[in-house]
């Protein structure tokens, strides 16, 4: 879902960062039991380090999976009824199982799935690995090297003491995470204030100090800019500018420079495409084909979009009202139906979780379009 580098330039930057940090990625990690209240979103960092977002605990955990044996070759993979098979493994029915996210370890090419066993307040989070040959296993988190940081609420100046001692129903859902160079980027959405937040946390971290919170505005509705939550994003090099391309819930595609992600900053994003209404973006990857970069975006109702990045650095921000679609051109890949989860498997393939027969979900490798 979120590869770490996008083009040669970014790859070189990343390589230099890797050289600087090579020995330090697991700095501050302790061995023990990694505990979770939920496992909502996943992303891979360097050296098989899996970044796990726990929405219920408002925390981020980085786990050294030790899954660092490079895959020799990528074989076609299809696990039919992956939801039923995981439900079977966990001793429940597929109806009581939720797949929250799926990512591919870029080294071993094993798939990792964030799963909830149950749908109620006592749902149990489980991390499941699907090896290249299709074998399922629950990843034991009882004895792993990990580091965990809690995401603090935005500090409130000048407030001292407990005040109203009532339970706090506020929760910030983590809608997407990505690892970029030496930072973990986290998009969040509160169940109370309607605002999009993005945090950039330096990695490795021993604790998340303050974090970084930004508000992003985009201009897809004519005269006004609207606060709206980011649903999914990818780091991408626009020209020489390391940027984030973020898909919002209603569905503008917005670009903004990563360097502007500084504490307390208010960033005005540039709307580079409006992908049409009655639609929700679900997941996004970047890949190369025939020497060109493309974004591949899975949607709730407009299928899979293959979006051109030609001249993206020269794109004008869309600030006028949009009847339906505008900006970067895209083609809809009709054969990729029912895709819920998407990540890059290798240079030529994606791995998806998509709807199969009945209530089955299938895990499938697909040739990139």
């Amino acid at each position: 879902m979120k590869p770490t580098t996008r083009s040669l330039v970014v790859a070189l930057i990343a390589l230099s960062c890797l050289a600087l940090h090579a020995a330090n990625w697991t700095q501050g990690m302790k061995e023990g039991k990694a505990e979770f209240k939920s496992i909502s979103q996943l992303a891979f960092g360097p050296e098989g380090i899996l970044i796990v977002a726990d929405t219920k605990a408002a925390a981020i955990t980085a786990i050294a999976t030790g899954d660092t044996t490079p895959a020799k070759e990528t074989k076609a993979l299809k696990v039919e009824g992956i939801n039923q098979k995981i439900a079977g493994l966990l001793g429940t029915s597929a109806e009581q199982l939720v797949i929250n996210d799926m990512v591919v370890n870029p080294i071993s090419r094993s798939a990792y799935l964030a799963v909830s066993r149950g749908r109620g307040p006592d749902a149990v989070p489980v991390l499941v690995r699907v090896k290249a040959g299709g074998e399922l296993e629950a990843v034991s988190l009882d004895k792993v090297k990990f580091t965990r940081g809690e995401l603090p609420d935005a500090p409130v100046d000048g407030v001292v003491g407990e005040g109203n001692r009532q339970s706090n129903p506020r929760q910030e859902s983590i809608t997407d995470i990505a690892f970029f160079q030496d930072r973990i980027l986290i998009a969040g959405l509160s169940n109370e204030e309607f605002a999009s937040t993005l945090r950039a946390i330096p990695f490795p971290f021993e604790k998340v100090a303050g974090g970084t919170s930004v508000e992003i505005y985009h201009g897809a509705h004519g005269k006004f800019e609207t606060r709206s939550p980011v649903r999914t994003f990818v780091p991408f090099n626009v020209g020489n500018e390391p940027s984030l391309i973020a898909a919002y819930t209603c569905t503008p595609l917005v670009q903004f420079p990563i360097k502007e992600l500084s504490p307390g900053a208010k960033i005005k994003g540039k709307t580079i495409a409006e992908l049409g209404n009655r639609n929700r973006p679900l997941d996004m990857i970047v890949y190369q084909k025939d020497g060109k970069d493309y974004l591949l975006l899975a949607n709730s109702s407009r299928g899979i979009m293959k979006i051109s990045t030609d001249n993206i650095e020269k794109a004008e921000s869309i600030t006028t009202k949009v009847a339906d679609k505008q900006g970067q051109s895209y083609e809809t890949i009709a054969s990729w139906t029912g895709v819920d989860q998407l990540d890059k498997l290798d240079a030529g393939h994606a791995l998806v979780v998509r709807k199969g027969e009945g209530n089955a979900l299938n895990l499938e490798s697909m040739a990139l379009p």
Partner: protein, 399 residues
């Protein structure tokens, strides 16, 4: 031949006996090979229940105890499967996770997770996989087990929907739906609808998020109106139109098919009918709030009246009271009169002096306007470069 399994021993508890009611627990050889002395028992005296293979001889038990088997080896001998309601699927689901041990003359499998009501579990014991055994001709033993689905009457209802007023602005941002018991997530957007005054379902009015915005206890759902469907001065998306229009009536409907955490539907569906008024595009201002201070020496409530309803969750969370020393006063806050009146009852009696109402500037009215900041920012005005989670203060005297 199908034969019921003796599930409880003479030492079984009454609790276990009661649990037996409604069980389906049968075991039988999978094929007609040699008659077997082995059987499978579902031991519900432990939590979670254990699955046991009994009838093994001493030699086999000793060999198993001395073996250094990994889970995969044990699963070849005894494995338990959670049925998915379809024969072909059931043949391909992996064995359930759990741990194995040999004790009390039997093999015990302890599932990692509790057994779920309504799921049909299948245990298979394969004597032919016993170490070094001459049991190669012994048939597999199969046993099926099911905890009964919960049969009680539905009791959960929608306890309240906020905003509670029956007139709401055209650019309303969200509803909070409070349930009387914890709920199950998933499919909620299929079970919540908005109808216009002729009963027609409004198309996609809500921001549908995979995350489904529940509170941690799963008793409150936040339902955002899709910001792309909120009517603006410049009409946004011409072919679909706004979700709510001033002057019209709408009904928010919540299906009885929503399930609570026990898997039961709601006792009844819920409807909230409301009229839509003109949009509210003005920032909120504390200058228009009126404070009625309490008397010192009492635990009377401090009350604050707003000129317009405020967001229920935020008003309860971000308004606090500080005493003359600047310390927050501990107590409980409440909202009344359709979220236009906030009150605060302290734990201790009030002391005389200048107090402060401290309000975080992220408090919202029903249209998402904050203190000094409207929900929508006009592009013609410069974008504020920094934001902070500031606190705005209003002083009042306790005498």
């Amino acid at each position: 031949m199908v034969q019921p399994v003796r599930l409880v021993t003479s030492a079984a508890t009454l609790r276990a006996s009661l649990l037996l009611v409604g069980w389906l627990g049968v075991s039988y050889p999978a094929s007609a090979a040699e008659t077997s002395t082995y059987s499978i028992r579902w031991n519900t005296n432990s939590t979670p229940p254990m699955v046991e293979a009994v009838g093994l001889n001493e030699k086999a038990l000793r060999q198993l105890q001395e073996s250094n088997w990994q889970t995969a080896d044990w699963q070849k001998l005894l494995s338990v499967y959670a049925g998915q309601g379809d024969f072909m699927t059931d043949m391909s689901v992996p064995a359930m996770l759990g741990s194995y041990q040999v004790a009390d003359n039997r093999i015990r499998f302890q599932p990692q997770f509790p057994l779920e009501p309504g799921v049909r579990y299948r245990a298979v014991f394969r004597p032919s996989k016993l170490p070094g055994s001459g049991e190669i001709r012994k048939a597999d033993i199969l046993s099926i087990f099911q905890l009964p689905a919960i049969q009680r009457q539905p009791t959960t209802v929608v306890a309240q929907v906020y905003p509670s007023a029956d007139v709401l602005p055209e650019n309303l941002l969200k509803f909070y739906i409070h349930f009387s018991a914890p709920m199950r997530g998933g499919h909620i957007y299929e079970r919540v609808r908005l109808r216009d005054e002729v009963g027609k379902v409004v198309e996609l009015p809500f921001l549908e998020l995979d995350e489904e915005l529940w509170n941690p206890e799963m008793t409150r759902l936040t339902l955002f109106i899709d910001p792309g469907r909120i009517k603006r001065e410049v009409k946004p998306l011409e072919d679909i139109g706004p979700a709510l229009e001033a002057g019209k009536r709408y009904t928010l409907e919540i299906d009885a098919a929503c399930t609570d955490s026990a898997g039961l539907p709601m006792r009844e569906p819920f409807r909230k009918s409301f009229r839509v008024s003109a949009p509210d595009r003005e920032p909120t201002s504390l200058a228009s709030w009126t404070i009625k201070p309490p008397k010192s020496g009492t635990r009377d409530a401090l009350t604050v009246n707003f000129p317009e309803p405020m967001d229920h969750a935020l008003a309860l969370r971000v308004i606090r009271v500080a005493n003359a020393a600047g310390r927050l006063v501990e107590g409980a806050s409440a909202l009344a009169d359709h979220e236009t009146r906030w009150s605060f009852t302290p734990q201790e009696t009030w002391t005389a002096g200048t107090h402060q109402l401290q309000v975080q500037n992220n408090i919202e009215d029903l249209a998402g306007n904050n203190i000094g900041k409207a929900f929508e920012v006009d592009l013609l005005e410069p974008v504020q470069r920094r934001f902070t989670n500031q606190v705005v203060r209003l002083s009042f005297e306790v005498r």
